[in-house]
Symmetry: C2
DNA sequence: ACCAAAGTATACAGATCAGTGTACTTTGAA
DNA sequence: TTCAAAGTACACTGATCTGTATACTTTGGT
């Protein structure tokens, strides 16, 4: 009816799949449910994705883009000072944790379910984490850290810990704890510069 | 045949289940396989555990004991100096990560699969993490930290990050990165004392 | 030697799973 | 207006899943 095409079925399917996979897990989410929730027949789903594993990979790739742009948006405009910008990564994480549809890191959950059975799924997850580390390394360089590799390794690990802590122990303010630890490490690193 | 009773079927089932759940995930591991690998009939399995969810909970409780005693053993005798003992937590983590049957934190994997569908499973996971934090807090107190709660919150979060990093990015030496960050935080905390 | 508890063997129920076959309908652009 | 691509509707396959029924056998303590 409308000349402007509605969001393609493909996008709709990925969006629905991401929601269900994140909330209920991968094996626990059936193809039939994803199709029904997307308002699409199973036949159409299989026209776009040859198998469930392919849909999982496409969904994780979409999450990769979505999550990295989320962090970019919530940190780039946050502050002019490069040190504050680096630390605002953990404020962005705090926003993320407080969202209704936060169920931990879906990449980690995917690894837990598919590590031994599907290499391409594992690869997408590792790649996201690698790009994430690279981005933080860039922020460390901008902040003038003398050893940006070392600092970003530590801050990335702290970010991972914050995500998991927010998932498993939601009564803790994981983002705040992480930011406090990160602040100490950053200030010590910059003092040496 | 032997008068010394072989390890009970119950223990055998839990041991097998832990191995398979950790390696392949929970939903991906069927009851039939667990029974067969345990050398036990499915009927016997259901005599010990009323349902798969009950077996999952029992398995996680067993892992709770196993994992905490593992860390106790690898840190208590490690060093007399309480500060070094605190930091040796990350050496113990390094040993764990290098084991063949390390597939990340099975508690975190369980949360990812069951968070929205089974409260008791979620509870066992949260409880393990809480006890783990309490134990680290005790080590912080022994080391003379002026604010052991704050320091242990940060170190626990770093430990979580190390576990996840070791799982997702095995090419990194997550334990070493974590220990370096932890050392900086501990020394700064003790300097204030 | 007896007997109850525990385990075996095996078939089965009922649900759900991923994925397919077939015939029909809508859509949008040339 | 025509026509091919995309989607629908729906039944269906074969595998696998959790959990159960039934009848038999082993085991260990008294």
């Amino acid at each position: 009816m409308p000349q402007t095409p509605s969001p393609s079925k493909r996008e709709q399917l990925i969006h629905t799949a991401l929601t269900l996979f994140s909330r209920y897990g991968f094996h626990a989410t059936g193809i039939d449910l994803i199709a029904k929730e997307s308002g699409v027949t199973k036949r159409t789903l299989y026209a776009h994705f040859g198998s469930k594993d392919e849909l999982v990979v496409a969904t994780l790739r979409h999450l990769d883009e979505q999550l990295r742009s989320y962090f970019l948006k919530h940190t780039n405009g946050a502050c002019e000072d490069p040190k504050q910008r680096l630390l605002s990564v953990f404020d962005a994480a705090g926003f993320w944790f407080s969202e209704d549809n936060f169920f931990g890191c879906t990449f980690i959950n995917a690894i837990g379910e598919y590590a031994e059975s599907n290499d391409s799924i594992r690869q997408v997850c590792s790649e996201y984490k690698r790009l994430s580390r690279e981005w933080i390394k860039g922020l460390c360089e901008q902040a003038g850290a003398p050893n940006p590799q070392q600092l970003s390794d530590e801050l990335s690990l702290i970010l991972e810990g914050a995500i998991v802590t927010a998932q498993v122990s939601p009564q803790l303010d994981a983002a705040a704890i992480a930011k406090r630890a990160a602040t100490a490490l950053v200030e010590q690193a910059l003092k040496d510069a």
